[in-house]
Symmetry: C2
Subunit: 207 residues, 2 copies
């Protein structure tokens, strides 16, 4: 099935993925996302926290009042998540690349209220700090009011993934240049806090 | 001096920085950026590679043909770079935060040509893989043609930075909850390739 035009990966279409397990795994692993919106002809890209719950992506809104105003007016948003996985060093500069996994979600934002808001805030907290909801003091009614959450459905989403080794041109293979992939990951410094996101020095989903 | 409205940091204004040394250091350390543009009422946010040379930010355009079409038509872009520096674990969920350094650049994109293009491609290659320009085979004329670079001036840019410890409410200070900052950084796995970006296991600017 050909994916709808908006979400179809046009550059390097073989890197495109449209299945929810692939999309969900990337959203669930990433700690931040970049939200795009447009105000009076100027695009804005704002980093913020996100969390997926089922078929919805929640965005932490208090970091961007523009985003909230846009959401309230039913504007289109784009939320993009990118995991940087490796430096791909080929024998030619031109064939250098990076390994990455990214997801782009398009949709009309809505403000999240009441019970759904509490669930969303919990998911946002657990996304960056699994286990802290039960460990730390939970939000008061006043704190809940001071937090704003925006929701995007996941029905317009696609992933783009590059994995694997460098791809050199045939005629470059004998050049005396080291080639290979340097894996890159988000790491946490070992510290006093023994927490499952960082226990093995790697920030990522619990394994 | 009050910064111009578009680039002024509105949420948490004390985190805003407008001096070029701060802005440049963040752009120079980051390996990827997220470019925002708008096509027919839909914002798009596309991850791509970037490099700063003097007062210009170059964006690797071949990863996004939409970006190139927009650039050719003189559209407004937004390029955002975010460095994730730490998980800020407070005694209350509400006061949890992240340490980060981000830069937002607004501007009208232009396509880069000829001599400037070669310099820009070199800068883009060196941004992710310092030293590789001289180590690997340099681009042929044909390869240069197959690469497209877009440029943004840096005269509309601002940085937003959170550093430092958790900030707990006075009444939470005696709660029996561990609080502190877990430093986070982009790490590279040690491997065969001894390269200054990854020599000490940390991906970042040479020290």
């Amino acid at each position: 099935m050909r994916p709808p035009d908006r979400i179809r990966v046009k550059r390097m279409p073989k890197r495109g993925h449209y299945d929810r397990p692939t999309i969900d795994a990337i959203l669930d692993e990433a700690l931040i996302c970049h939200v795009g919106l447009e105000v009076e002809g100027q695009p804005y890209v704002i980093p913020t926290l996100h969390a997926r719950v089922g078929d919805r992506l929640y965005l932490h809104g208090s970091s961007a009042s523009r985003m909230l105003r846009q959401a309230a007016s039913g504007a289109r948003l784009c939320a993009t998540v990118t995991l940087f996985d490796g430096l791909v060093l080929a024998r030619s500069v031109f064939n250098h690349s990076v390994n990455y996994r990214s997801v782009v979600v398009f949709g009309t934002a809505t403000l999240v209220e009441e019970d759904e808001k509490l669930h969303a805030i919990r998911a946002l907290a657990e996304q960056v700090a699994p286990g802290r909801w039960d460990e730390a003091r939970q939000p008061s009614q006043q704190e809940l009011k001071a937090t704003s959450i925006v929701s995007l459905p996941l029905d317009e989403a696609s992933a783009k993934v590059r994995t694997g080794r460098e791809e050199d041109d045939e005629e470059d293979l004998d050049l005396p240049v080291w080639a290979g992939v340097v894996p890159v990951y988000l790491a946490a410094e070992p510290g006093e806090y023994d927490w499952r996101r960082v226990r093995d020095g790697r920030v990522g989903p619990p394994r």
